[in-house]
Point group: C2
C-alpha cells in the first residue's frame, strides 16, 4: 500500500533526455520523450516532452486568473474553481513541438536515440472546457477574427490563433491523462489546440484578447516560421503535417540475432486520422502495409506494427504515413524542397534507420 | 529540463488512500484511486488502484520466465525479450477489483470520499501479446477447456480461466499507459482479461497450465465467490456488472454556493460498451440523460457529465448506467436481493450521494 505507485528499478532507461538552456537564456530548454522505450498511444505525463522558453512558473491555482477581453461585448475573468463548473470534453490527442525532429539531419544525430531526435511528440488524454463556450458568454464582436493568447510564464509567451480554430475544437485544458495538468505542461490551465503546432497551445494560460488581426508576436515571426529558399519566411503553418517514425528497432536498441522482429512506431497528422502506414526494410524499394492498432483517433498518435524477418544483413527501415485525406508523408528531399536547407520547423520527412550486420542501428540521414 | 516531470505542490490531495494489511497477514492491502480528483478515462499509473495478497515482488525482467504447459502439445517458456518479438495489441480498458465498493454499505463510509469507497477501479491503455498466439504455438490439446494462471508473488496467486475468454481477448500485458508495467501492477508481465474481475488478471505472470477443469483455487472458492442467501456460494462471476458512480459532487468536495454545477462520473461494464447514463438529483423521482464523452470504448471507463442547478437545498444525487445490451445498473436493494446481506464481491448498486444545505456531501446509504 502506498500513496503512489513507483516505476521498476530495472527501468532506469525510462527517462527523458534533455538539451540545456542556450547560453544567455534563462529557463529555456527541451526534454524529449523516450519514444523507443514506450508503446501504445498514451505517454505517461512525467515523460511528456517539454519545451520551455522562460522556465516553469509555480502557480497557486486559487490565485490564478484567466482574462478574456478585446473585441468582446463583456470582458470576463475565470478562476480554476469557476471553470470546474463549466461543461468539459475529454479527448486523446497528440501534442508536437513544431521544432520536433530538428536534429534528424545533424551529423551528431548518427547514434542519437529515436526519442532524442523525434521525442518532441507525446500523446495524452486532454480534458477541459471548450473555449467557444467562454467566448460565447463574453460575446464575440463581429469584427473579431483572431485572438492572442498569452501565458503566465516569465516571458509571457504569446501566440495569435484564428478564431475559426477556437470555435472548432480548442479547449482550456485542466486535466492531462486523468489528473490536473502538471506544472511543466501549464498547470493550472493551458490552451489546447488539437493537431496544431505545440507552441500555440499556450501554457499557464492567463490572457485572451480578441483581435481583428494576428499580433505578429516574436514567436510567430522570428521563431516558428519557415525560412524559404528565397529568404522569405512562411508564416502560420498551423496543423502539424502527416508523419510517422519507427520507434523500434531504432538507434540504441540492439538486435540480438537474426529472426523475426516487430517493427513498431507511431504515426500522426494534425489534419485528422491516419489511414495507412507502410514500412520498408530495403530503403524504399519495396513497401508493405503495417497493422494499425485498434484506437485510430483523430489528431492522436496511431500505433503501427509490422513483422520483419531480419536475416542478419544490412537493412534500411522506413515508415510512411498516409492520412484520411490522402496526404502522404514526404521523403526528406521533398519535405525540404520548398524551403531552405536550413529548415528547422515542421520537418516531417521519412526517417531511415540503418540496421548494421552487428545488430546495431544508426540514423540513415547521416 | 528534467528526466521526469513532477506533480504540482498544490495538488497534495492527489494521492491514494490505503487500507493496511489485516493483522496476521503479510503484504496484503488495498490502495484506492482518488476518483474524486480525476477526470477523463485514463488513470495515471501511479494512482492506479492496487490490491495485493502477498506483497509486491521485485523482479529482474531478464531472469523472469513465463511457462506454458499442461494440455499442450509442446510446453513453452517465454522471457520478456522474446515476447517483445511477438505482435502486440493495445487497448484502453478498465480494471476493477471484484471487491470494489465493499465499503459502500458500511456505517464508517458516511464521510469517506468517492475514491476511498469506489476507487478499486481504474482505466489504462494496456498493451501486450494476445495469449491466444502463444497457446496456438504451444498447441492446444482438444480436451483443454480451462487454464490455471499463477503469479511470481510470494503467495503464487492463482486463478482458473475458461479457455474461451483467453481465445477471445486475453493478453499478456507488458505495457500500461505507454510504459512498461509498474511493479505493483505486475512487472514485467501480467495476464489481462478485459472486463473481468481484476483478481483474475494475474500479476507477475509466471505459469500457465492448460486443464480440463478449473482448479478450484482458494481465490475462486473461499474468496471471490458470492455468498447467497441460502448459504451456498455462487462461483465464477467473471465479467464485472454494469455500474457507474458520480465522482463529483461527492463526499469531501464542498459545494460553495448555489448555482450551476457539473455532475460528473464514470460508468463501465465488463460486457461491452456503455449506452446510456442517467442522473437524478431528487433521489430517483426524476431522471435526465447525462452527456457521454466522445470516447465510448468497450470494457473501458466512460465519462459522463450533466449540468445541475443547485438551489442550496437538500438533494440526493444518483447515476444509473445502461450497457449496449440493455442491462441496467440496479439499486442497492436489487443488487443484493439474490445474495445474503453480507454480500461483499461484485456489488454494483446505484450509489446515492446526499447533498446537505451547507454544501457538504455524504454517503446516502448511511
Amino acid at each position: 500500500m502506498s500513496e503512489a505507485g513507483a516505476v521498476s528499478p530495472f527501468e532506469h532507461q525510462l527517462v527523458r533526455t534533455n538539451i540545456n538552456a542556450s547560453p544567455g537564456t534563462t529557463g529555456a530548454g527541451v526534454s524529449f520523450t523516450p519514444l523507443e522505450h514506450l508503446d501504445g498511444i498514451i505517454t505517461p505525463s512525467r515523460l511528456h516532452f517539454e519545451r520551455h522558453h522562460s522556465g516553469i512558473p509555480t502557480i497557486d491555482p486559487d490565485k490564478h486568473q484567466l482574462f478574456i477581453q478585446g473585441l468582446v461585448r463583456k470582458p470576463l475573468v475565470f478562476t480554476s474553481a469557476v471553470l470546474a463548473r463549466y461543461p468539459m470534453v475529454s479527448n486523446i490527442h497528440f501534442l508536437e513541438c513544431s521544432g520536433n525532429s530538428f536534429r534528424a539531419n545533424s551529423k551528431s544525430a548518427k547514434h542519437l536515440s529515436c526519442g532524442s531526435v523525434h521525442g518532441l511528440i507525446s500523446g495524452s488524454e486532454w480534458t477541459g472546457v471548450p473555449l467557444k463556450m467562454l467566448l460565447d458568454e463574453a460575446g464575440i464582436q463581429a469584427e473579431a477574427k483572431w485572438l492572442v493568447a498569452s501565458g503566465a510564464d516569465a516571458g509571457a509567451m504569446n501566440r495569435s490563433v484564428p478564431l475559426s480554430k477556437i470555435l472548432d475544437d480548442a479547449i482550456v485544458a485542466l486535466y492531462q491523462n486523468g489528473e490536473p495538468l502538471r506544472p511543466a505542461n501549464g498547470y493550472p490551465m493551458r490552451l489546447f489546440l488539437p493537431g496544431w503546432e505545440g507552441n500555440m497551445s499556450i501554457k499557464w494560460l492567463q490572457n485572451i484578447v480578441l483581435t481583428r488581426e494576428p499580433a505578429m508576436t516574436r514567436e510567430e515571426t522570428s521563431k516558428y516560421s519557415d525560412l524559404q529558399a528565397d529568404g522569405t519566411a512562411k508564416l502560420f503553418t498551423f496543423p502539424m503535417g502527416v508523419k510517422s517514425v519507427i520507434t523500434s528497432p531504432s538507434p540504441g536498441l540492439l538486435l540480438n540475432k537474426d529472426g523475426v522482429y516487430q517493427i513498431k512506431g507511431i504515426a500522426w497528422t494534425g489534419s485528422g486520422k491516419i489511414r495507412r502506414v507502410e514500412v520498408s526494410a530495403d530503403g524504399g524499394k519495396s513497401w508493405a502495409d503495417a497493422q494499425l492498432d485498434s484506437h485510430v483517433l483523430p489528431k492522436a498518435l496511431t500505433r503501427f506494427r509490422a513483422a520483419w524477418k531480419w536475416q542478419g544483413n544490412k537493412a534500411v527501415l522506413l515508415s510512411r504515413a498516409t492520412d484520411e485525406f490522402g496526404a502522404v508523408q514526404p521523403t526528406k528531399t521533398v519535405a525540404l524542397s520548398g524551403n531552405s536547407p536550413g529548415n528547422f520547423y515542421h520537418f516531417n520527412g521519412i526517417q531511415p534507420w540503418r540496421v548494421h550486420t552487428d545488430g546495431s542501428v544508426s540514423n540513415g540521414f547521416v
